[in-house]
């Protein structure tokens, strides 16, 4: 039977010095957060460039979450402030493009804030769930293709296969 419940796929860029540790702590503390996020560890949110957010959304991510240190608490002094400006720039650009800007969000947490991080992730998932599937991801579904979730199958080869089929379809 076709799956009708929409489960958002959210990409979370987490700073190594805070949010990533915080997510780790959430695990140690047995705090639950939705499994919809795919966490990517970054050395600092200041390392994230504008194109990372754009490409993630273009690639069909339903939402992108950037989790950096508390303002004033960046390990590299002001990396999170740089990230904040970039996120705001891309949010404006998304409005121009015609995609909901709430699909991209930045939050600030410290390494000890496991529970607030879990709540933030839950809130983000709820927001994206309300917005619905990314219309850019829908196009992949339109082609009648899906990525198999079986971990035994090489994901990279699946993606390459998917891309070639999409090119043929377009």
């Amino acid at each position: 039977m076709e799956q009708t419940v929409f489960e958002p796929r959210i990409l979370a860029f987490c700073c190594h010095y805070c949010a990533y540790s915080s997510a780790d702590l959430a695990g140690s503390m047995r705090i639950q957060y939705p499994p919809n996020v795919r966490i990517i560890r970054t050395p600092c949110t200041g390392r994230l460039e504008t194109e990372y957010f754009i490409k993630a959304l273009e690639g069909g991510a339903d939402g992108v979450l950037i989790a950096g240190c508390l303002e004033g608490g960046c390990h590299f002094i002001e990396g999170n402030l740089c990230a904040k400006r970039r996120v705001n720039y891309v949010r404006d650009m998304l409005t121009e493009i015609g995609l909901e800007k709430d699909r991209l969000r930045m939050v600030n947490v410290s390494a000890a804030m496991a529970r607030p991080l879990a709540e933030t992730i839950t809130d983000m998932v709820d927001t994206v769930r309300k917005l619905g599937p990314s219309p850019l991801a829908l196009r992949i579904a339109d082609c009648g293709l899906r990525i198999d979730q079986n971990p035994n199958i090489n994901l990279k080869s699946q993606i390459l296969n998917l891309k070639s089929k999409m090119e043929t379809a377009s």
Binding site: I54, E58, M93, E96, I97, G98, L99
Partner: protein, 222 residues
Amino acid sequence: MIVAERKKIPDLIEIVKGHKKILVLGCGTCVTVCLAGGEREVGIMASALRMASRLAGRSLQVEELTIERQCDNVFIEQAAEAVERNDAMVSLGCGAGVQAVAERFQKKPVYAGLNTAFIGILEERGIWTEKCAACGDCVLHNYGGICPITRCAKRMLNGPCGGSREERCEVRPDLPCAWQLIYARLKDIGQLDKLRKITPPKNWGAALHGGLRTIVREDHRI
């Protein structure tokens, strides 16, 4: 360098309407430095155009390419194959780059993806300011290297106007008074006496007011 900024995505989508395959062509010189049309911006712009067109239900293939310099035929040549593959081009070069590309590929439509703004410098991270109006008859030697044409709101050659307040321009209070800067600079370099000279009205014929400008160097011609 020449400073430009990107056009809005909805405007560009309207401009390329009717084309199925476009090339977003970047330039590796001035517009790369002012973060408007380099390789990274080409990637961002191409993604944005793909996303916007898909959301509008239109099919648009976007190829990305950045060449070293769009205002030089030697480099434009490197884009020939990519241009051939596409219906049209969106050039992320300055106005000169767009026109040079258009002249080279006469059968392909070329659209400007940037609004070319001015000749300026990077003042601080993320801020560019105009420094030269390309008036064709440089007067910087008289004013301690500070251009009254570009930086004085009234373009006064015999300033100051007397309206500045606390060293700020009365027209644009966010800017310093150019004549205050000129005075301080001439004082620092011991050339205050230059201000005693009354400068006659400027010949604007050398600027764009005199029509299209061309420079010919016979010693370099073959």
